[in-house]
Symmetry: C2
Subunit: 390 residues, 2 copies
């Protein structure tokens, strides 16, 4: 069926399938089991909160993809995928919590029926368990297995024009949320109250860009909170004289464009002003260096130069962005690390976020960018990167 | 360190550790690697959005638990766990996206150094990958491995008094959100606008119960949407004459108490009134039967009786609730299924949600309940289970 919910036209899905099949052929695979929900959505259109269960898409060289999941989720699948109904296969609900039998036994039966010889599996994905793999090995002793972690993620790295259009909508939502946060944040305000308004604005969206749930909640460390520790908020208040780093992404139809800004509740010390200047210099240098054809490692070094704290920014300067489901906002199949040999191509999209530690607290400025056909990368959204003050 | 962020006192963590060690001993394990973030939080206090990376807690019989994760997350760990700093071990950041080396090699080195002979692993958890397991097998050929999926989840089933107090706060937030939704929902309102207000109210919380992010976004199928398909919202409007089933959970410090109600935008047909009566009768019968000492299967049958559509309600009547991280709201280590042999104990907590299909649309009413010391289960929250009309 051609679902009325499908975000893209058939040509877009055909293109994606073709790219994936080429990658499979290069790896000698006649079938690929895709369990990462972002990869599954990219290939089939499937979009539902069912990725806490065993499910996936079976990609074949010479037949339509097969959606495979719980029986009670097949109706939702038929509403969201582009393949005909016969390509939607459910396993019985009593397998879900059975102690004796496992859902992957049902998958194995289908794989066997398809005559698959070499099956790729996303072995390091969070959505294919060690138990599932041991069941496959046991039930299908004659099938060859290969680790295909990242194979589809790499195909997703370069965005099509309609995907970029979705990301611009996500960026408009990110801008709206960040402008709101800069307006609402105040000394004494409990952090959860600020998060409440951020979520409201994110879900309200902007114009026809309705807000979808983001792959990650906002992060808003302040004062001497361990920014890098990714602790979420509490009911504690914003404190005068402290600064807060607010990270969030608007989401439109699962596409993201994260944004990170630092907000001061009071005066900005000279030391922090120097940090601000260095961070903006880092962004300018990195974004100028992020041209099509450049080596990712060189771009990371360009970001690192003005910061003076080595090449790695703790854990690199960012990763690929686009479709995302919790808990993964960024895709590290290409990371902006100094030792990366990957090469930038037009319409790759990244979140870049240089950070600095100042007097024990971390400050950062993050932008979402698109690699252009020529020249410097394009920055999504229009909120000034400068520190905001209240 | 005793973190100021720790939700419970040391006696509570000691009790949890003792129960877990007893279960380990019964299974012949001298160590257990806990990677499910809800289990990890329950045992150590660790609470951060880092569960998209390889991490976990190593539980031993005769030494404090060890937090193991990325180097850059150790600061956040030291802020949230009860163990001393020496029990927090980070692996180098360059392992995170390395193609040649894997983080689990670092874990294996520690397991080996501890002299572990029989290690339990949550093999069917989303947070321990097939790749991770194959690395362990390769690096530790002399260690025995056992599947310990659900072992800690079962220990978590019975809640302590402080946990119940947290769940009451979560229930107060759920009530506040649902009352708001019943007030705001209106014909022509875009669903994302309703979600925006629900998230705002959920994060604002109630009195001193500040809102934490829920393990699952709201679900609000309406009309003939495939309710069981767990499709999330879009920008489409609420339609006159249709009904909407709204499911959501407030969250306080990772504890949940989900709630589900059906709201009519217009008149309720006689057919739907009969469905409402049957659902309420089902809840009354099931909750009355859910006494300590009862067999779960018998309770499921009590819920099923008034519905007249067999014993299983599609996929059972609900699961355990408590601590949860996305994407899992409920824990199916005990599910309210007709064939379950499990026995209810006081202070087990469940979300129960009988559903009925009426003219192709699904309606349901869900409550969070606590098994009492004697008599019927206690219902959390106070919103009337009846269909709401606008």
């Amino acid at each position: 069926m051609t679902s009325e919910r499908l975000p893209f036209d058939q040509a877009e899905y055909d293109r994606r399938l073709l790219m994936t099949r080429m990658a499979m052929a290069l790896a000698g695979l006649d079938a690929l089991f895709v369990s990462d929900p972002a990869n599954m959505q990219w290939l089939t259109g499937y979009d539902a909160w069912t990725f806490n269960h065993h499910q996936g898409a079976i990609i074949l060289q010479d037949a339509d993809p097969i959606w495979w999941g719980r029986q009670q989720d097949t109706q939702g699948a038929m509403h969201t995928v582009w393949m005909p109904e016969g390509c939607v296969i459910g396993y019985e609900s009593d397998l879900v919590s059975s102690m004796e039998r496992h859902p992957i036994e049902d998958l194995a039966r289908h794989i066997s029926g398809l005559g698959v010889q070499n099956l790729g599996i996303e072995m390091d994905s969070q959505h294919f368990s060690a138990k599932g793999f041991s069941v496959l090995l046991q039930v299908l002793p004659d099938v060859g297995f290969a680790d295909a972690t990242g194979m589809v993620n790499l195909q997703r790295a370069i965005k099509s024009a309609p995907e970029i259009a979705f990301m611009r909508k996500a960026a408009a939502i990110s801008d709206s949320v960040m402008q709101g946060v800069m307006k609402y944040a105040d000394v004494g305000m409990a952090k959860n109250q600020l998060v409440a308004l951020a979520y409201r604005d994110a879900m309200q969206g902007v114009d026809d860009a309705w807000g979808d749930y983001p792959a990650m909640p906002p992060m808003l460390p302040s004062g001497s909170d361990p920014a890098a520790g990714l602790l979420t908020w509490s009911g504690s208040p914003l404190v005068a004289g402290e600064d807060m780093t607010f990270s969030f992404s608007g989401c439109y139809r699962r596409y993201h464009a994260p944004l990170c800004r630092t907000i001061f509740l009071g005066e900005v010390s000279d030391e922090k002003r120097r940090a601000e200047a260095a961070l903006i210099e880092s962004l300018d240098a990195g974004i100028a260096a992020a041209t099509a054809g450049s080596k990712v490692g060189d771009v990371a070094k360009a970001f690192a130069g003005p910061l003076g704290h080595g090449d790695d920014n703790g854990n690199g300067f960012g990763g690929l962005i686009g479709i995302a489901y919790p808990p993964n906002m960024e895709d590290d199949v290409i990371s902006l690390n100094a030792d990366s040999e990957a090469v930038l191509e037009p319409n790759m999209t990244f979140h870049v976020c240089p950070t600095l530690s100042v007097s024990g607290a971390s400050v950062g400025i993050g932008q979402s960018i698109r690699i252009s056909e020529d020249g410097a990368a394009e920055v999504f959204g229009g909120v000034s990167p400068k520190f905001a003050t209240k």
